[in-house]
């Protein structure tokens, strides 16, 4: 069981994990290079916890105690006492490899080093570390608080002890760990890929338009969200990045090739909800 958790990267996933860990009475050292991002992360957590209080899911007197579990840090050496460090930075293999090399130098030798990558190779991320047996993947799905499962990705050198410790930690957070071998896209990104890629191809072949495809997948397939609605919500750039990563990691497997529509949209700033326009247009209302 981990008592002290380090999180590197205070983005959406990192913030979500911090909140979840704090709710489980785990002390969290939340690290980012950017103090503004750290401040926003704490504000987001507070706002979410206040919402939980308003909805009766949390007692108001518990809020200060939960926030006490989270400390923000801008120095990697402040994670030295952590039992586990979870990395949640940009999805770039070079950045992650370099970070893990530095983490190893600043953290205790028994700490588990985990990456929240959704598609990059854990084996590759661990390649520059001296002890790759303690490196593991923990693919948390957004939104972290409500997603029930976490993919635990075993790298080629990850040992059983690391897998056991991280699996126990995930149970501690109230989630179910699904053990996956290190491979492009693991399970979730890979098997859900056709939901988007085939929808894009159907669109590109003018078999149906985006609204129709969304309507068909929701009404006939029972999906909660159509593929184009989902892509707009996730961000076209994020969808493209995952698809490109799958394609690269599989050394060019044709069925993973990203659709050119995504590239064009990204390059012209049509990023989905966050930019106000993607496959649909989003308007702010007062």
């Amino acid at each position: 069981m981990f008592k002290h958790l380090g999180i590197v990267g205070a983005g959406t996933i990192g913030t979500g994990i911090a909140q979840l860990a704090a709710l489980s009475n785990i002390d969290v050292q939340l690290f980012d290079v950017n103090e503004t991002i750290l401040r926003r992360s704490l504000e987001r957590i507070k706002a979410d916890l206040r919402k939980a209080v308003n909805q009766g899911r949390l007692a108001p007197e518990e809020l200060p105690g939960i926030m006490e579990h989270i400390r923000t840090r801008t120095n990697l050496s402040d994670l030295g006492n952590c039992d586990c460090i979870i990395e949640s930075v940009v999805e770039d293999i070079r950045v992650k490899k370099d970070l893990f090399k530095h983490l190893e130098a600043h953290t205790k030798s028994t700490a588990v080093l985990a990456s929240t990558t959704s598609s990059l190779s854990i084996t590759s991320i661990a390649a520059l570390t001296r002890n790759p047996e303690r490196v593991v993947g923990t693919h948390f799905i957004h939104p972290v608080d409500s997603s029930e499962t976490v993919e635990v990705v075993r790298g080629h050198k990850t040992n059983d002890e690391t897998v056991d410790r991280i699996t126990t930690f995930i149970s501690q957070l109230g989630k179910t760990a699904i053990l996956v071998q290190d491979s492009p896209g693991f399970i979730i990104s890979r098997v859900s890929h056709p939901y988007f890629s085939e929808a894009l191809r159907i669109l590109g072949e003018h078999i149906a338009d985006a609204e129709q495809i969304d309507r068909i997948t929701k009404t006939i397939g029972g999906f909660p969200e159509g593929p184009f609605e989902t892509m707009d919500r996730m961000g076209i750039d994020a969808v493209f990045a995952v698809a490109q990563s799958l394609f690269d990691q599989s050394c060019g497997e044709t069925r993973f090739r990203p659709h050119h529509v995504l590239k064009t949209m990204m390059e012209s700033g049509l990023l989905g909800k966050k930019s106000g326009k993607g496959f649909y247009t989003y308007e702010e209302t007062p």
Binding site: S183, Y280, Y282
Partner: protein
């Protein structure tokens, strides 16, 4: 400040002018319209004749009979276990009754049998009787080329279990006049279903997407990336799929999935539709294999 969704012509896909160049204006307009089921519509036809593959024949029969139609069914191959219909106005007969008003052809795998069925429909049915034919493994246009009454054949996306949903994908052909589509729309309305008109292409929309998801799961299992039972869990709880790919495959049937993927591969000639070898093997037995399967 609250964001509201304003559905627009974002992205490249909604310029359908090239579609309007190929087919008459009214069909292009239909392509972007959904038909909603009308309330209090009375059954249109005296008798529906349904043939093809199990279990689609049984599923369509129960739905039609449950909405007041008299139904006559037959199969290309009679199921090993004789189906027990809940509804009493379903009869089994190898011969299409003379008073059939709507014929439904539900074959995806045995295409020579499909052609035989359609030819029989064409020669026996009154000229005004529509033919609704599954077009996920062969286009409605190609099927129309097999018969002389081309105006009355309309494609539908038929796979086991999909008819239980409130919407049906329909594909018109260049031979289908507006009147045929209206009759088909009215027919599905009487079953409490709307229609969504899409272009006549193999795989259509939902079957193509679902079968590719199932195919990818088969590749994942082949590569031993995760336990079989974890794949559905991961997709349902991680990606919010309503069903996991294994569950979908069990509902649809692996032979049906294999047929759709093979048709897509043949039609599009793209490597991305290559059927996973494991899926091809499992389609022979029509069940998912586990490591315990002898």
């Amino acid at each position: 400040m609250k964001k509201v969704l304003k559905k627009s012509k974002g992205g490249e896909k909604t310029d359908r002018s090239h579609v309007r160049d190929r087919i008459p204006q009214e069909k292009a307009k239909q392509s972007s319209e959904i038909s909603q089921p009308e309330k209090n519509i009375q059954p249109l036809a005296a008798l529906i004749f349904i043939t093809g593959e199990s279990p689609m024949v049984e599923q369509y029969a129960e739905i039609c009979a449950g909405h007041g139609y008299h139904v006559c069914v037959s199969w290309n191959e009679t199921p090993a276990k004789k189906p027990e219909f809940l509804s009493s106005n379903i009869i089994i007969s190898g011969t299409m009754p003379a008073r059939t008003s709507v014929a439904i052809e539900l074959t995806n795998i045995d295409l020579p049998a499909k052609r035989k069925n359609l030819t029989k429909f064409d020669s026996t049915l009154p000229e005004t009787a529509p033919i609704l034919s599954s077009s996920v493994t062969v286009s409605a246009t190609e099927q129309s080329s097999w018969i002389s009454g081309k105006h009355r054949l309309v494609g539908i996306a038929a796979l086991p279990s999909l008819i239980e949903r409130p919407l049906v994908e329909v594909a018109s052909t260049i031979y289908s006049p507006k009147e045929t589509i209206e009759v088909v729309s009215r027919f599905f309305s009487t079953l409490g279903k709307g229609i969504e008109i899409v272009q006549d292409r193999i795989g259509m929309v939902m079957p193509r997407i679902l079968c590719q998801i199932i195919n990818e799961a088969a590749f994942v299992i082949t590569e031993d990336i995760a336990a079989l039972q974890d794949i559905d869990k991961a997709l349902k709880h991680g990606a919010r799929f309503p069903l996991g790919p294994i569950e979908w495959a069990e509902r649809i049937g692996l032979r049906q999935v294999h047929a759709v993927l093979t048709a897509l591969y043949t039609d599009l000639q793209e490597e991305r539709y290559r059927v996973a070898p494991l899926l091809k093997q499992m389609a022979i037995t029509d069940v998912w294999w586990t490591h315990e399967t002898p």
